[in-house]
Symmetry: C2
Subunit: 639 residues, 2 copies
């Protein structure tokens, strides 16, 4: 189970005992990262209904927390309950008062200091036969005594659940806005860009409202079997190669490509990024080019073929001769694992706390569990994004063993049914407890069909979907905002892919959608409801092209209602039936919806309203719902 | 998880490994009751979809079984899969054949005898460079080699699940038809009946088609505070007392009430019952009358009040001075527990294998777990019916710890919505895996409102519901078939309750519904679909009084479709929309439905059909669906 700093964890349990005894129960919890971690704190469980109990506690620090349930029979509460029924029936309770005095005396024995003395005194007064029975009943039935006795109930035969874990991450684990950029394409036309060049691009990225700047691998690139433009098996003079072919004479995973600069330049870049609110994320691709120093120094970390050659990466019939995978199961694998761990620790030492991990699903799950555990125990604020485009259960296994976020199938979801089904699964089932989606409309590897030869409406529409369906999303730019839409023939990839060549992006292009992106990211920042996924609700529309959904903020009750015309080529009109309960609308008054994209305002009455979206203008509404015109001032801080 | 003899257990598991490796997996299982139980049998898991695997194994003996999942990476299958892709792409596979020969040689090392020799020879032939490559490929790609290699895959790094348990009971645990009867009311009018008198009643009970004859406690009854007629706090001369006030001078839980006979009479009765197909079930009520020998011999087994008296049973403000509960938590509780266990073992020794346990929810759960475990390890064919009318989770806890069947809330379910919701929960959720319901329209304790002052239609209707919704059901007779419908004023109990007096039932009454009961029980015996609950499906009707449902037999595909008019006072007509898929009807042909209650036959077309039920005639249809008139002969054995 994962949560974020400042959340509280709601815990529920069925407490069952034979008979009609009254029970008591607590959740006991501790922050495992705290010094002297033997201290448990407890909060009482209270009954919800039908033997289901509930409690909640605040998660005030990042790192792993442990909790368990403890429950017991509360003898005094049981006694008190039946005493009340006897009194109501007018029965003689003389002997019951003796029993009750004994119970209170036992309680005194478990209490300490003043409380013990006070309980012992109370017991004596209950048992004092010289006092009138009504007076003694008043003492024993006092609500405060019930509370006190409950706190000192006999727990020697309490039941305890197994210990359970919750991983608490910083808020960015849940709410993050990513921009992927190749620094080498930030230089003057035709030249390999440097970190200094990339620094000049930072204000532009920041102005669009992103908060994570993710760089593809920044290490030296191998020359053996270097790929040419468009993934050609041989390269031409001057081709820079794929930065995922990590390692060359100049160094490996802890080195910086000389053409980008040196470590000092990198530090300067990271610091400049931080100044404009951008946290740098690095790409960790655990594989080596044939020229990686590891290949020379540790041939035993690679698999050898019977002819003595090292096995290059393959997905038969495809061959990747420019990449050697590590043999995670080699005889000296512990040394290999330690070295790979040291790569994370090296960059963590440089202040990097976000890593996008390349293809984690092709490396052993136990390696990741061990490695992430080691990194986060040293640096609990580290975020790992799993670039795992694989079978769902393998993606979930990675999330369970420690990855903070994951790529998803968002790029391949297009219809209303597909979005509804996929998001309901991601946000409304057990999956939501451990799997944090990060939605990417494009990546350097993926130009999905829905963006191929697509226009402005599709680029805006897919961005609105990613940015409002998921509290974390990202784009690969400037390809995205400049609406690069041309695939390599027959492939789901860009033609003239930036992976194999240096691009010269014209970020000042008039028809860039950077302005819309800025607006959407500002809406995300200003509306807490979009910073979570758990309140996502779909609303009915009678037009299959119109997708409508909302998110609501638990704290202030405000809601964002989004309508997207999934047909990016034609205007669509339809009737929308809102789920008022999900929106917290009482339904009796008219209410205003304010389109934060277009700034238009509409006065709506009742659950059914008509929406019309012309993709030529804009393919989506992002409404803020104003619950009552009378209370308009409540929303002022949003403006 | 519970199953019955002859069932197979379907097991599913998600098998997830990193990358694209081929996996192998098995379910390993064993009958824990078998002599020399260290032998595990295994069945292979096969993939269903999306990393979900499935297998099944037969449960050939009663008692507990253990199983677990074992799964591994199959190196040879992984290799073979990529080899095929290389061959298809026309790649050079010379080195792959060397790798393949090595893998087959490793496999030979794990095999034994002839198989080892044959595998080693195969490895040599694959590796033989003097043979042409196509010939070597043919050898290595042989399907039989794949199978053989899979059987001898390297499991040294296999993953194993936790061991899991399945409790296998005899079929009567699932399919049983109970009749509760007081032997003392079987004598001549005004006299205490004996087992000999009760023997005379056996053919009557058997003729109605019951297979379990359940007797309320047969032990001596206390005289102190004996309850009089209609639960009066004091009794009159000659009142027999409640048989749940167990124990008197003549003995306790292992003794027989002298007025019923002696142990020899009991044995004769049990044997006579068996002769007509009735298995005798005893009522075990762990409580003592003040005159029980335990009270004298083991006062330490009871709770004492401060005034020295023994605490009688109470549910404040109600007092049961004729009953002392045991103190299951007394200092010498282990001796008490052993003694109570010996009660079951005593009657088991007399051949009794079905026990109806009185109020188990007011005794500690750990006691039952221990006690039932001990009884079933000596007598695995023992069935325990929990008389637990309590909160659902406590009922489920009893089922999980070992009770075979349980009473339910059936008596208080009346409307279509209530039945649909309750039965969907009982048969279509996880609850169905461990909780076996036993539906009782009445008991000596319960004359529910739906039968108070009710007529023939209600008695027949409630019986049809119990008998067809649940594969186990029972009635308290002859009160039920004679339609005793008069409550004690303001209570949910019979007036002149048989618990406190000897009754003189006129079983020959002309308006007894015993004939209908016979017919319904015969239908249950002849239609396997009614002997399970797991295929229960509700069908839509447009009249809220008409409840329609079906059950289908997995083996022969036959279905029973039941329609009940829940308005027992007025005729109701409605349109029924059948779920054809649940019924296995292909929908293209007309089909005959044969009402097994009235013997009427109807030819139906399509999913929608009209039903009319006049409760004055009969309040229910119990249709057998004939899938195709052409195949009528297939159903002949039912007739």
């Amino acid at each position: 189970v994962k949560r974020e700093l400042g959340d509280s964890l709601r815990v529920e349990a069925d407490l069952v005992a034979d008979g009609h005894d009254r029970l008591g129960g607590v959740v006991r919890f501790r922050d495992d990262g705290k010094e002297g971690k033997k201290e448990w704190t407890e909060v009482p469980l209270t009954v919800v209904e039908n033997d289901r109990w509930r409690s909640e506690f605040e998660l005030e620090a990042i790192g792993p927390w442990t909790f368990f349930i403890e429950a017991w029979v509360d003898d005094f509460a049981t006694f008190r309950h039946s005493l009340i029924r006897r009194v109501e029936a007018g029965q003689d309770v003389t002997i019951e008062l003796v029993i009750g005095a004994d119970l209170v005396r036992d309680t005194a024995g478990r209490a300490e200091g003043e409380e013990a003395l006070s309980l012992a005194d109370t017991a004596d007064r209950i048992g004092d036969e010289t006092t009138a029975i009504p007076e003694r009943l008043k003492i024993i039935l006092d609500e405060k005594l019930l509370e006190l006795a409950a706190r000192h109930a006999d727990r020697t035969r309490a039941s305890r659940s197994e210990p359970l874990r919750v991983q608490v991450d910083r808020v960015k684990a849940r709410f993050s806005t990513w921009y992927e950029m190749f620094p080498r394409s930030c230089g003057p036309a035709g030249k390999h860009g440097t970190f200094r060049d990339a620094e000049a691009r930072l204000p532009y990225v920041a102005s669009m409202g992103f908060d994570v700047l993710y760089l593809p691998p920044i290490h030296p690139i191998g020359v053996s079997h270097r790929k040419g433009r468009n993934n050609a098996t041989s390269c031409e003079e001057g081709d820079p190669g794929s930065c995922w072919a990590v390692g060359a004479d100049e160094g490996g995973h802890k080195a910086i490509h000389p053409s980008l600069g040196n470590l000092a330049d990198f530090r300067h870049f990271v610091s400049a990024a931080a100044d404009v609110g951008l946290e740098v994320a690095l790409d960790i691709a655990f594989q080596a080019s044939p020229d990686h120093p590891y290949v020379r120094e540790h041939p035993e970390w690679f698999r050898h073929r019977p002819d003595g050659s090292i096995q290059y990466a393959e997905n038969p019939p495809k061959k990747y001769q420019d990449i050697f995978p590590f043999d995670f199961e080699c005889t000296r694998h512990l040394e290999l694992w330690e070295e790979l761990l040291s790569v994370f620790l090296f960059w963590a030492n440089e202040g990097i706390r976000i890593f996008r991990v390349d293809n984690p699903h092709t490396k052993p799950l136990p390696f990741w569990e061990w490695c992430i555990g080691r990194v986060t125990s040293a640096h609990p604020d580290t975020i790992f994004l799993a670039e795992a485009f694989t079978r769902p259960k393998l993606m979930y296994a990675l999330a369970k063993l420690g990855f903070t976020q994951s790529y998803t199938y968002f790029s391949w979801r297009n219809s209303k049914e597909e979005f509804t089904e996929y998001l309901t699964h991601l946000t409304g089932t057990e999956t939501a407890e451990f799997f944090r989606p990060n939605f990417w409309p494009n990546t350097p590897d993926i130009l999905p069909e829905n963006l191929q030869f697509a226009g402005r409406a599709a680029f805006i529409g897919r961005l609105v979907l990613a940015a409002t369906l998921s509290s974390s999303y990202g784009i690969y730019g400037p390809a995205y905002e400049l609406m690069d839409n041309t695939p390599r023939k027959g492939a789901e990839e860009y033609v003239d892919n930036e992976k194999y060549e240096i691009k010269n992006w014209k970020i000042e292009e008039a028809d860039s959608i950077s302005g819309v992106i800025s607006r959407i990211n500002r809406i995300r920042k200003q509306n807490r409801s979009l910073q979570h996924n758990r309140t996502l609700v779909f609303h009915e529309t009678d037009n299959p092209h119109l997708l409508c959904y909302s998110k609501r903020d638990d704290q202030d009750g405000s809601s964002i209602l989004v309508v997207v015309n999934l047909d990016f080529d034609h205007p669509q009109v339809g009737s929308l039936t809102m789920n008022f309960r999900a929106l917290g609308i009482d339904g009796e008054r008219a209410f205003q919806v304010h389109d934060l994209l277009s700034d238009a305002r509409f006065l709506w009455h009742g659950q059914k309203n008509t929406v019309a979206l012309d993709p030529e203008i804009i393919p989506a509404h992002v409404f803020r719902i104003r619950h009552s015109l009378r209370k308009e001032q409540d929303f002022e801080y949003f403006l």
